[in-house]
Amino acid sequence: MRQFLLRVRQHKLHLIMILPVLAQFIIFKYLPLYGVTLAFKDYRILEGISSSPWVGLFNFQRLFSSPDFFRVFKNTIILASLNFVFGFPAPIILALMINELRGKVFKRVTQTISYLPHFVSWVILAGIFMEVLSPSRGPINAALKALGMNPIFFLGNPDWFRPTLVVTNIWKGLGWGSIVYLAALGGINEELYDAARVDGCGRFQRIYHVTLPGILPVVIIMLILASGNLVSDNFDQVFNLQNDGVINNVGDVLGTFIYRSGLKSLDYSFSTTLELFRNLISLALVMSTNKISKLVGEYGLW
């Protein structure tokens, strides 16, 4: 105890330094945790959180008996799975290609270009894609028309909305996502390639036997991090691209549903219940992927 007090005195100024950060966390991260009780209450705006009556699991009953919830939940899972299946390997493939490129300047220029979309918000990108994918003005549809096909309303047609979301999402994250893998590729020991070459491995065999195992640890860490996203949808993307044509079918996900039920319908309890449900699933997913990857190999996040 004496030693502890001594350390406190020794680190007095350091403790003062950490206060603002702690205050920020307590006010904006921990204080709202109390509001999670809304999921078990019937929130009355005039009475506030603490005097609103408890209703047990009533909100969860409402959630599971709402047809909207299942539609939105299904959309979220489908969209996240598509994003995962196509979006996860894409930056790895790009990194492998960039890694094989010879021209130094060409390599740097293409990398720089590929990072650019990462820095532009979905608000702006939505505007850009509305122009480029427009059935009447867009170049893609002009090309389709020139080939004698019917124009496609990529953003307004329920059949095309999901593929469009997946492609635009990959487009935005592809270059930026490859950086981590490029760094890992740079760390692979050169001698392994020479050894493989001496053993008679061709280019693709070398990629398979040396390059891929070399970046595997990074791939697994990224995989664990990505697994939590299975239910936390790309809110910014869907929110900015959704429109009247798709909002009642494929164009609505948990994030946008939470937003609308909370701030448009002002059903605070329902919105909180939804979000609690989503966060719990996301947590379970990350934990179990971490567990599985620890069982399979020695890699784990914690």
Binding site: H14, Q24, F28, Y30, P32, I124, E131, R137
Partner: protein, 309 residues
Amino acid sequence: MNVSETNKTYVKKMRPSHVYEGRGEWLFQGILIFIMVVLSITFLYPYWHVLVTSLTSPDAAEGSGFKLWPKVFSFDSYNQMFHTKTLWTGYKNTLIVVVMGWAVSISLNILGAYALSKKTLPLRGTFTGIIILTMFAQGGMIPTYLVVTKTLGMKNTYWAVILPQCVSVSHLVIMRNYFMNLPQELEEASIIDGANSFQVLIKVILPLSMPMIATISLWVIVSNWNAYFNCLLYITDASKYVLQIIMRRIIQTDSKEMTYAGELADQLETDTVTLRAASIMLATIPIICVYPFLQKYFVKGVLIGSLKG
């Protein structure tokens, strides 16, 4: 593996292997270059398309297809936008949020990370736990909304936009690890000279950490420039709208009501398409202009962050 080591291997990486490669190598490189050129075009063309649209005379804007060059060149849409008060309000508010947000974020992060980098700090484990736990336990949108608006009464203030997001766990961890890797000797020397912790931080630690602080500053600035959600939640007073919110209103077409872009276009007697394109460009150009020069700092940061701490 420490930071500088990885950066070095990343930069150094240039395989001399092609010496051994045969003729297939040329074909392989050719295909790769072709794919990369096509990819680069798909990355760049959308901006170009909008840029060309914005520079086309409103009367000629309805054409479709690939746009390589404006059919009828005109600055009208930009001229019109420059004369709207909304645009300047947006720039002003975004600037306030970006500058204030940067100042608050960077100072809180530096102070917190420096304290946490001290191995003998009392309760260090508890503090780290409090910080890490927030990655898993989140109140969510409505509970946070209630805290900000009801408990703190911050509705319609810039603070509501800045403060809820001003500290990030990943930035804290990256900074803390960076500080821990700095050589201790200089710090000890200045403590012997009688400097207190704040003086050590400002005179010794900060000058040594400039590259890392530059990277994190850029991240913070870009994310504040692009942020719209807090403003959407907490700001109802149109004179405090940030640029992204104004853009969202211009871009989003809502068939139920008259669009904001339409209203603006009517006021300005111009065409919605070119007006929208011009406003998109005005919100993007600042980023596109500084981006090529600062790009390497962003990348360096990802490499620092990708190392396990």
